[in-house]
């Protein structure tokens, strides 16, 4: 009986302490790092919220760089994947369809230049990045459709390639939203 009352009294006090802990972290974060603390949100020239630099979004137009496959269509109210096992026939079918689609949209780039990250579903369904190779593989298509020279696009991709953290942790990657924002600026000129 004593254990029960001690537990209840201690628990209530601990719950308050942990709530204070979280509010304190929130306070520090909001005062010193409001941009990051609120989700690294990105606004356009008219101060309209267009997304988060950490969260991927769907790009359908072939004139834009495309991100990874997302079974939830980048719905960031949730997160998720189809969780296909490597042996699942649906996985093979989906990838074969992606490859066929690639061939149709990118006749100049052979399939052996198509990196695997571009036709696989990310873990979160919200992956903001693609590999630099995946960005480069899309250059011929975008150049053909927009008339922007390949060299300019090449330069754009290089500029938007983020290195490994401290030169060590993580992989090289290109943020698709930021890349497309830069591309859209080029097009507007």
């Amino acid at each position: 009986m004593k254990t029960i009352t001690v537990t209840i009294r201690t628990s209530i006090f601990l719950m308050i302490i942990f709530l204070v802990y979280q509010l304190a972290v929130t306070g520090i974060a909001q005062v010193f790092m409001p941009h990051k603390a609120n989700g690294s949100l990105v606004y356009d020239g008219n101060n309209q919220l267009i997304g988060s630099e950490l969260i991927g979004q769907t790009f359908v137009s072939p004139r834009y760089f495309h991100g990874r496959v997302s079974s939830i269509e980048y719905n960031a109210a949730a997160s998720g994947t189809p969780n296909y096992a490597p042996s699942n026939p649906d996985l093979l079918e989906r990838i074969q369809a992606s490859v066929a689609e690639w061939k149709a949209a990118n006749p100049d780039v052979p399939v052996n230049k198509l990196p695997v990250d571009l036709i696989t579903n990310s873990g979160s369904g919200l992956d903001p990045d693609i590999s630099p190779a995946s960005a480069r593989a899309q250059i011929p298509r975008i150049s053909g459709l927009t008339g922007i020279p390949k060299e300019t696009l090449e330069k754009l991709v290089t500029e938007h390639t983020d290195g490994r953290d401290l030169g060590l942790f993580g992989e090289e990657r290109v943020n698709v939203l930021k890349l497309n924002m830069a591309l859209s600026e080029l097009l507007a000129k």
Binding site: R9, L14, L54, N83, S87, K113, P115, N121
Partner: protein, 558 residues
């Protein structure tokens, strides 16, 4: 896999291992009841907790200690269960989230109290901010604190000291270890891009004009204790694969170090507290060796990729990328999957259901063995149990009564160890068979992998890991109740039986060490220990994994 990836992995592990010894010695000091310099730092917070909670610093017997642990944890489960059940009517619910149904609330409350963090709900839509900030976070601190307290009591008993007081140990673990580290690292995580806000989801209009709702919340303060306490439950549904919950290679590195820190430091705490540092080191090195071998296997498999996809002729130098994030790549995802299962954390930065069969096997194997570091506290108790089995086996081979730390291991202790050993395969294999027979409709991937899905779920529950092959349709009353029961027994049964064994050893007279004593602090003992883990642990589960991941591997082989 590039050399840089390998270097990143090596640096990550090296930093975690270098921190293990000082952290282990610090933990030993935290649980030293004599007055230390730490009292001045933390007394101001502890004294009011003791006073308001009505905690008295009385030493407990092993029975009182075990009862306090079991009873207090059960009461906490009930308290949080009630919060989940009524979250729809309670404050701090800007998203207007409904109350949880009973079986899911039962499962979730047990899940977080047992340090498992199996999640049959999705954080974005299943929990109000109140449930996250009061219910879940509360358990994310008290669960590892309870487990670590149990392990410390176990070690005290082995070293012949009084067991101490459960509540004092739990509070000290929170105030002197978990809370300060979590606080600092939460701020560091915000600096890396992890959100910390009480605002509801942001609504954006994307570049192509679609509406995108972006869930966020107080993630950073959740994330640090999630990893450091080996909890593993995600703020978001996809856990640390979510860009908000793990934004960069750097945050990924930090999470891995945090997961390893407590489990890797406990052998040093143990060595210090029993006064045999060499033995602590031998256990540490043995675990590290098993870890490195398993990591190597997983890395090779994930970097090779899926043969069926590779055969399509695409560029597959990146390895297996289905269910993985570009910023981590195959190598650091494989590392994360091995660390999270070795330390029984259960957070994921890649979807384990989509791991290659051998990568999935390593994850499952880590949980089945539950001795490759193991979760904070409970894992180390398991490690010491295997150490006693190793001593017992050696004793049988040379025909002497086995001794451990100068105490004879006899019939009573071995009976307790034997029932503890048997409970884990029972908790895993029986319900797996039941699920496959009665609920095959909940399995999303057919064939051999389907068996792996059910097997993984119960292995993860019994080992209190909490990761899952998430394709499984597990938000049903059957899965909620069955895994809830498995998690509860998997947690408290071994703690109680092992405290009983330690209590029984403590009551015995010490036997003086002679030339004939089997030494438990040299390489030979390390080898016998690994042998015991592999023979007793691995063979139990071999038939099941042969039908699951190994069979799947063979079907994919080109």
């Amino acid at each position: 896999m590039t050399m840089i990836s390998l270097a990143a992995i090596a640096v990550t592990l090296l930093i975690a291992l270098l921190l293990a010894r000082p952290a282990g010695l610090y933990i030993a000091q935290v649980f030293n009841y004599e007055r230390t310099g730490l009292d001045r730092w933390f007394g101001w917070l502890e004294k009011p907790i003791y006073a308001l909670g009505g905690i008295r610093k009385e030493d407990q017997s092993w029975k009182q200690y075990a009862m306090a642990l079991l009873l207090s944890n059960s009461v906490m489960i009930l308290l949080v269960y009630l919060i989940f059940r009524f979250q729809g009517m309670l404050p701090l619910n800007p998203g207007g989230i409904a109350s949880m149904e009973p079986t899911l609330a039962f499962n979730t409350a047990i899940s977080f109290m047992t340090n498992t963090n199996l999640q049959h709900y999705s954080g974005e839509s299943g929990l109000s901010y109140l449930s996250q900030m009061v219910g879940i976070i509360f358990m994310m601190f008290t669960a590892p604190a309870s487990a670590l307290a149990g392990a410390i009591a176990f070690i005290r008993a082995l070293s012949g000291k009084p067991l101490g007081n459960f509540f004092v140990d739990m509070i000290r673990c929170i105030t002197r270890i978990l809370l300060p580290v979590s606080f600092v690292l939460a701020v560091v995580f915000v600096a890396m891009g992890v959100p910390q806000t009480l605002e509801p989801a942001a609504v954006a209009r994307t570049m192509e004009g679609a509406v995108q709702e972006i869930a966020r919340g107080p993630v950073a303060s959740f994330l640090s204790i999630k990893e450091f306490g080996n909890n593993g439950g995600g703020f978001f549904g996809v856990n640390s694969a979510h860009p908000f919950e793990n934004p960069s290679g750097f945050s990924n590195f930090l999470q891995i170090v945090l997961m390893l820190l407590l489990p890797a430091s406990l052998p040093f705490t143990y060595g210090k507290m029993v006064g045999n540092k060499k033995q602590g080191r031998v256990l540490f090195v043995s675990m590290l060796m098993m870890f490195v071998v398993l990591l190597g296997v997983s890395l090779t498999s994930e970097n090779t990729g899926n043969p069926v996809i590779n055969a399509l002729g695409i560029q597959h130098a990146q390895g297996s990328m289905e269910g993985k994030e570009v910023r981590f790549g195959a190598a650091e995802s494989a590392l994360y999957s091995v660390v999270t299962t070795a330390t029984e954390t259960g957070s994921v930065n890649t979807m384990h259901d989509s791991l290659t069969p051998i990568g999935g096997l390593v994850a499952m194997g880590n949980m089945m063995l539950n001795t490759v570091f193991g979760g904070v506290g409970a894992g180390f108790i398991n490690v010491l149990m295997y150490a006693m089995i190793a001593v017992f086996l050696s004793g049988l081979m040379v025909g002497r009564t086995p001794e451990f730390l100068g105490k004879k291991i006899e019939g009573k202790e071995m009976k307790l160890i034997a029932v503890t050993l048997i409970i884990s395969p029972l908790l895993i294999l029986l319900p797996t068979a039941l699920a496959l027979y009665a609920h095959p409709d909940t399995i999303s991937n057919q064939g051999f992998h389907g068996l792996s899905q059910a097997l993984y779920e119960f292995t993860s529950s019994a080992a209190n890991n909490g990761s899952g092959f998430e394709g499984l349709g597990d938000a049903t009353p059957f899965w909620n109740i069955s895994t809830g029961i498995v998690m509860f027994i998997g947690r408290y049964f071994p703690v109680i039986t092992m405290l009983a064994a330690a209590g029984s050893l403590a009551a015995k007279k010490s036997v003086p060490e002679t030339a004939g004593t089997f030494r438990t602090d040299n390489i030979l003992f390390g080898a016998v220990f690994i042998g015991a883990v592999l023979i007793v642990g691995a063979l139990t589960f071999f038939p099941a994994v042969a039908l699951g991941p190994i069979a799947e591997y063979l079907t994919l082989k080109p």
